[in-house]
Symmetry: none
């Protein structure tokens, strides 16, 4: 087995999920992630954790959802009990066709997601971590050769996470002390409140409430958004290719959008879908290009992203509810050119370079 | 998709597992059974059942078990809760290497199985059904081409189960009314008592307490066995190839055997391992040859099998304990030639043909 797969498994189990003896773990395996699952299983055995292995297949989900009449049972007991009793969920993405669910109506997906809200909550209450195994399908999605894509994934995943965590904590401090963020770029001039919110250092470790591997972003839960934003990083949302979506905000809500119908469907999911749940700032310099995968794209150094929908509890004051929604859809804008990010009027990033980096110009 | 896969899924969900709207189902998928899983998912969606999809991989289990120190936690809470809350488990076998776990020590496997006894009980308390999707690995195990093996599997699975159930009930009535069974063939002349025992129609449906697809056997729990029997159908027992095992019985117990060492090991397990727990009579005419898979071989029409060890409760009068043992090992003998099966002196089957079939000669 490729030594990098073994290292990936070790980073996932040790750094990211902090698995210990006796932990009850759900290991969720996509059809193309078998080899990584074998390596992760060895790590779990070595640590004395207890895996239940699930299979996450777009083709199986598609067949199920298309055959269903859309009157979904709420929170099936067995699925809910599985996650309620799990300490961690390790989700290994990497399918064989990124468009496997392209012909499942968006309405069906949202109805299904809404019916399973408590299952999702139980899942989110575990020490969950999502990662991907490089597959040919993901390489194709990224417009890259398989060999080059594997290099790309391991450059992003096998980092010095402790050093990056240290750098990120500087940005977190600025955000935590700040009241307002302004993002300015081509087609974008948007402000949002962040006062009384706590930024999360997404260090790819559950110890920091960070649940993606790779990670490398600092995010918070904004509110009161005003202005407009254009998201120029191309991506696939629910099977549809989207680029240059433009959202107009007033009083914290999207009042107008320009983009494909799928964005309208998302905005119509529920009230929370029209508000932002996240402002994220990419800081992973191992990710050097968009690959049409949110797991990587949103962490790319020199980008920021805004998510419609659900906010993460970790950003909120104790006991306070943030934006609630059945959806959480990230949209990304490139900040590497003619752009700036301000906190309370101070430029913290210009043209992709942070204030503390070489090359930053006021 | 091959129409037979769709039919297989329909038989499994409708006839075998009797899935209804609202059922919480665990769909357990082996690495080679993906296509059948897609078809089953559509059936589950159509019926409004709720699947959790698990992944049963010998390679993942092997990696986990070999890395573990063998001090297994008892009955992990998440796994136990999953099955405790499930109405049915549909297990789709069909791996890519039947020997994937060959280098996991037997001691490790039994220690692991013992630690998970309550998980197993919860699983067995569901309406579970085991079937297989034809894979190249299973074709290899059967010594058949992939194409021929697929024909074989669908011939066995896609039967008129209602008609077969009807035929089987005739044999069950004779067995239930009978006092003694005698089996005569080359190297075999053995009698056993069946008075006061109830035969089970294994119709491949949980409605009849039958949990295999394919099925097609009638079985009961004999006692007081006398004589000798030779089992000429080749099979793999605990990883060892065995054929032409000969057992000699006196007063219900094996007093002598001729065969490989693994048979001696089994007989020495405990007292019950020297007595029979099952007499099974194969009635599935879709199964025309042994394929080194007990799921198929023991149901083959024109064979009978005797199992050393544990008896099934369903065959026993209420409250009465049958033969008890830690093992249940089936051995099969071909009755298609120069053989007969008698109940109370009446020949019920001769040379593979039942009394009620064309071609039967007194």
């Amino acid at each position: 087995m490729d030594e990098r797969i073994v290292e990936h498994a070790a980073v996932l189990v040790e750094w990211s999920a902090r698995i210990e003896a006796g932990d009850d773990v759900v290991l969720a395996v996509a059809p193309g992630a078998h080899d990584l699952a074998v390596a992760v299983a060895a790590e779990l055995g070595d640590r004395g954790a207890n895996p239940v292995v699930t299979y996450t297949s777009g083709e199986i989900n598609r067949a199920y959802l298309r055959a269903h009449d859309d009157e979904f049972d709420e929170n099936p007991a067995h699925e809910h009990a599985l996650y309620e009793n799990a300490d961690a969920v390790l989700s290994l993405g990497g399918g064989r066709n990124a468009s496997a669910m392209a012909d499942v109506p968006g309405q069906t997906r949202s109805t299904h997601a809404t019916a399973r809200e408590k299952v999702r909550e139980a899942y989110m209450n575990t020490d969950w971590v999502s990662t991907v195994h490089p597959t040919r399908s993901l390489a194709q999605q990224a417009g890259m050769s398989y060999e080059a894509y594997r290099e790309f994934v391991y450059d992003a995943v096998l980092r010095d996470w402790e050093a990056l965590a240290e750098e990120m904590s500087g940005l977190k401090e600025r955000l935590d002390a700040g009241r307002e963020v302004r993002i300015v770029g081509e087609g974008t001039d948007v402000t949002m409140a962040i006062e009384n919110r706590t930024a999360v250092n997404s260090t790819a470790s559950v110890a920091d409430d960070s649940h993606n591997l790779p990670s490398g972003e600092v995010f918070t839960a904004p509110y009161g958004t005003e202005g407009h934003a254009t998201f120029d990083v191309p991506m696939t949302v629910r099977g549809k290719r989207v680029q240059d979506v433009r959202l107009t905000f007033e009083d914290g809500e999207v009042i107008d959008y320009d983009g494909p119908a799928v964005i309208g469907e998302i905005l119509d999911t529920d009230d929370g879908a029209r508000r932002l749940g996240e402002l994220g700032i990419g800081m992973n310099r191992g990710i050097d290009r968009p690959t049409d995968s949110i797991l990587f794209d949103e962490k790319m150094a020199g980008t920021v992203h805004l998510a419609l929908g659900r906010a993460y509890d970790a950003c909120l004051p104790d006991g306070e509810a943030g934006n609630e929604s059945a959806v959480h859809v990230d949209l990304i804008t490139d900040m590497s050119d003619d752009s700036r990010l301000e906190i309370d009027g101070e430029t913290v990033q210009r043209d992709g370079a942070f204030r503390w980096e070489a090359g930053f110009e006021e």
